[in-house]
Symmetry: C2
Subunit: 192 residues, 2 copies
DNA sequence: TATGCTACCTAACAAACGTTAGGTAGCCAA
DNA sequence: TTGGCTACCTAACGTTTGTTAGGTAGCATA
């Protein structure tokens, strides 16, 4: 969905935007169609239902996140390297494609049971990647953590949250924010 | 809203629950009325509109948060004490009243302009309290932070996130999670 | 006994919604 | 030249929605 050429991709992109603005139940398909340059009924040539649009959006986004994070991590050696890469990636991805990621984080409750299970499974795979980095840090380098899952969630929420307030052109750019958060996560606030 | 006696309070409490389940646009007033034990139209004896229910909910919650945090902080002396109290409070409040706080965090976009401004003003007051603790820690104790606002947001997102996955009866109770997060925020993961 | 207020009820309105049926223009292959 | 496919269009459907109008039962006050 980097360069939306097909109408289907345009629809997905506009849907992400609209769902974020109004929420899934608040968004309406005639408005979506208008933004994509077609008539309301024509959406059903590309998707079976409103629900399918939401599902495709979330499913694609989760797959993309897993794939990219895995790739970014492939060169790294130590748990510390991997942790820093993950913090950077998670923040950058959420800030770069804020609509898709926001929806993936917030609209789970609006997925029908089957779709819910499929998306949650991918989300868990993503979390597992991070969890294993933290576990490795604990085992190999004595990181101070008992339940890796606890810290995985802290990291995810903290980093994902950046996209809710970040505006480019502010005092800090994305890389600087990511660096600050990575340091916070590694060293805390208190001086050593 | 601790012990809902009046029908109005029951409505607010059920609305919080319903809005969290379905989102504000997805929730419908007949269902809300049913849960509160009255008929659809009777809601309008207590509130002028659906929007007013959302606003009252968010506005009351924000006021309550500010008041309680201020009170909890009143006995504390050092920035470090205050920081730990804040982490504990924010997590506990979000876990204890998860519906209200979830809505306050997520439904801002559904407030009409006037209501939006009023709630955001209170949210900013709350953030300011935390920001000033971090600034004091920097000034008085040399905490490693440049932009207090950056870390305020990290803290808020990290702690608020707990309510999205916490289930009582799990491996850790709320106080233990709060303690772990406070330590993470102060000292980071790496051993000293 | 009359008045008025509170806290509801019933029934309906108008608008908006997701979805569907049926049609059409353009293109490509046979 | 025909047939079929893709990508749309228009118009309508049935339902659900927030909201309102008008009525009523119970209670307190005068």
């Amino acid at each position: 969905m980097v360069e939306p050429t097909s109408r289907r991709d345009i629809l997905l992109q506009e849907a992400a935007h609209l769902f974020r603005e109004k929420g899934y139940p608040g968004a309406n398909l005639r408005e979506l169609a208008r933004r994509a340059g077609i008539q309301g009924g024509s959406i059903y040539h590309h998707f079976a239902s409103k629900q399918e649009i939401l599902f495709q959006l979330m499913d694609q986004t989760m797959s993309d996140m897993i794939e990219r994070l895995t790739q970014r991590l492939s060169g790294a050696q130590t748990p510390l390297e991997k942790l820093r890469i993950t913090v950077h990636f998670h923040i950058e991805y959420h800030v770069t494609g804020p609509d898709q990621t926001y929806i993936t984080d917030e609209e789970l409750r609006n997925l029908e049971p089957d779709n819910y299970l499929r998306v949650v499974a991918k989300r868990d795979r993503y979390q597992k990647i991070i969890e294993e980095i933290l576990s490795a840090g604990k085992a190999e380098e004595g990181w101070l953590l008992d339940e890796p899952k606890l810290y995985t969630r802290a990291l995810i929420k903290m980093c994902a949250g950046v996209s809710t307030w970040f505006k480019s052109g502010g005092a800090l750019n994305v890389a600087q924010i990511a660096e600050a958060y990575a340091n916070l996560f590694c060293n805390g606030l208190l001086p050593r």
